[in-house]
């Protein structure tokens, strides 16, 4: 069983290696094949044909950030939901109620965000 465990992760490593190797190989191969004649016009940042103005690395609207926060909250929630779901059979109703309370708390958070117009994407 332990072998399976270790081999499985060896496979993951293999996949990772391949996933990185493919772009490297392909791009290196491409480099040999493709022409390379850079010019200033080509290397200008594309801005629908007009000269680029301002810095592009502008500040994002806070709503992106708020969504990121919400994501963190609910994603972490799953940290608890998954083990609970796996072990649900042994835990039974007690765990169901506990998890219900937990999730309701988070839902209140969602409701709160909703009501406070945080979920609005303008």
């Amino acid at each position: 069983m332990f072998n399976v465990y270790q081999n499985s992760y060896a496979i993951v490593i293999v996949f990772l290696l391949l996933g990185i190797l493919l772009p490297i190989v392909a791009l290196t191969a491409g480099k040999l094949l493709r022409p390379n004649r850079p010019s200033i016009a080509k290397q200008t940042t594309y801005e629908s044909g007009i000269e680029p103005f301002h810095e592009a690395n502008i500040r994002f609207h806070a709503r992106y950030y708020v969504f990121a926060l919400l994501f963190v909250i609910f994603d972490v929630e799953t940290v608890f939901l998954y083990p609970w779901a796996v072990a649900y059979e042994e835990l039974g109703l007690f765990a169901l109620v506990e998890m219900l309370i937990f999730v309701v708390m988070l839902l209140i958070g969602l409701l709160y965000a909703w009501k406070k117009k945080v979920l609005k994407w303008l």
Binding site: L93, F94, V97, Y112, K115
Partner: protein, 497 residues
């Protein structure tokens, strides 16, 4: 289902009330209920939680949720203090003084409740996980509370500093806890104690010392004891006054409570050579106590901002409170309990007076100039708090200090240096405490004090009256402690007995 109902949920009733209130408040807030009503509800919740706790006073110590949460004499005693303090701070926050400053006042109330919940869980937690969660609940809520003035740079900065310092502290504590877990294989304090009492290996002792120091350092951040106090003055100054009052009292005391529990429970019984780990580590606590007392009091001398001054004074008081802890004796727990009570009353009182007079947002000491002329009663109340902070007889602060003294002096002569420094620094503290008296009584008045709202009046009166009452008839306070939380019985819950 049997299991669900068979657990003695009543033990957690005070916590449930707070949780319920926090949830209810955040929901109500969505429907434009008046903010004042929210505040009143919050106070009501805290008070009913206190009442629930008082009804639990006579219950024997017991645990719930597999020993992670206990309700013993210790937790009852300190939880009561936290709740009293919380009620006072909430009352203080009820007025609209800083309306322009705190735009999200309603959020203040439920964040406050969650922070309080964290503190309450900390007092009752008998398990590192519960403890950690409680600690973080308190910390995270306080971070936001400090930064609640979203548009105010000072508030933002204070919050950021608090997050960074607090985060580092949490991480250090956690690292220490991970060692504790590793050495015992359990996170439950009671089991941990049992495991550690049996151990005799030398290398374990070393790791235990490291664990102790790391955990200690992390928790000391919370107490704002020197040299881990850097954040306190800035945070106190930047935060709105009701938040500062919370941080300076409830939050700080919660740190002490948890330190007491885990260190007394885990380390004081662990053999290390001929003594216990706790004994060996006392020197570090003593050093910290000395550093806090000296730094707190000396640096406070040159502060011109009252909040910063109170912050440094709070650092010094943390040092005072560490003294009985460093010189463990039969008086340690009751002296700390009483001093906390006294500290709570006088600090919140002082913050309330400050809040009442500095509504323009000016926290400079000169806000106190000529207060006696402008509002004699306020000046007298402030005098009471100042005298109590300085430890002048007739106030609760004095009795507390004498008790701490007794705790330190009743023991071995090698500890005498601690109370000596305590006393010396107290004298230094006179200089800045009395400067406020000087300003209030000797200086000319600047501006009129407009009418003080009822809630502040209540807070100030309650604090002043009890500071005096506990100073003149301390038996009232002590009786509560000795009769309801008998030290010899049930004070620390140690498993089913």
């Amino acid at each position: 289902m049997e299991m669900l109902l068979s657990l003695p949920w009543g033990l957690m009733l005070p916590e449930f009330i707070i949780v319920g209130a926090a949830v209810l408040l955040s929901l109500l807030d969505l429907f434009d209920i008046g903010k004042r009503k929210l505040g009143l509800l919050a106070i009501l919740a805290v008070l009913s939680s206190l009442v629930a706790l008082i009804f639990l006073y006579n219950d024997p110590a017991s645990d719930i949720l597999y020993g992670t949460f206990v309700l013993d004499g210790f937790s009852k005693a300190f939880k009561s203090i936290l709740l009293v303090g919380a009620a006072l701070v909430l009352m203080l926050a009820l007025s609209d003084y800083e309306k322009k400053m705190i735009e999200d006042r309603s959020e203040y109330f439920y964040l406050f409740l969650t922070a309080l919940l964290g503190a309450m869980i900390m007092t009752s937690s008998n398990d590192l996980i519960t403890l950690f969660v409680g600690l973080e609940l308190l910390s995270l809520s306080s971070y936001i509370l400090v930064g609640i003035r979203k548009t105010c740079t000072a508030s933002n900065e204070a919050a950021m500093k608090y997050v960074i310092n607090g985060g580092i502290a949490t991480a250090i504590t956690l690292f220490g806890m991970s060692y504790l877990y590793g050495l015992t294989g359990t996170t439950n304090a009671t089991e941990m104690m049992a495991v550690l009492q049996g151990q005799t290996r030398g290398d374990v002792e070393l790791l235990l010392s490291i664990a102790f120091l790391l955990t200690f350092v992390g928790l000391v951040f919370k107490l704002a004891a020197a040299p881990f106090h850097m954040w306190a003055p800035d945070v106190y100054e930047g935060a709105p006054t009701p938040v500062t009052a919370f941080l300076g009292t409830v939050s700080k005391l919660a740190g002490f409570v948890i330190m007491l529990r885990i260190f007394l429970l885990i380390f004081s019984g662990t053999p290390a050579g001929t003594t216990t780990v706790m004994d060996k580590m006392q020197i570090y606590i003593a050093v910290l106590a000395v550093a806090s007392m000296v730094i707190g009091n000396v640096v406070a001398l040159k502060q011109t901002n009252v909040k910063r001054m109170l912050a440094y004074s709070g650092i010094a008081h943390a040092g005072y409170l560490l003294v009985p802890f460093a010189t463990l004796s039969v008086f340690t727990l009751d002296s700390m309990w009483f001093y906390m009570l006294a500290y709570l009353l006088m600090s919140i009182g002082a913050f309330a007076v400050l809040y009442a007079i500095s509504r323009s947002g000016d926290d400079s000491v000169h806000a106190f100039s000529g207060l006696y002329r402008r509002s004699p009663l306020l000046a007298i109340a402030m005098t009471i708090f100042i005298l109590s902070l300085a430890g002048i007889p007739g106030t609760a602060g004095f009795i507390g200090k004498v008790h701490i003294f007794l705790s330190a002096l009743a023991g071995d002569a090698s500890y005498y240096v601690l109370p000596a420094i305590l006393m010396a620094t107290t004298v230094i503290s006179f200089a800045y405490y009395f400067r406020i008296l000087q300003l209030m009584f000797f200086r000319a008045s600047e501006e009129e004090v407009s009418a003080i709202p009822l809630n502040l009046k209540i807070v100030i009166t309650v604090c002043a009256v009890f500071t005096i009452v506990c100073g003149i008839l301390p038996a009232i306070g002590y009786d509560i402690f000795y009769e309801n939380f008998p030290f010899m019985r049930d004070f620390f819950y140690i498993g089913q007995n």
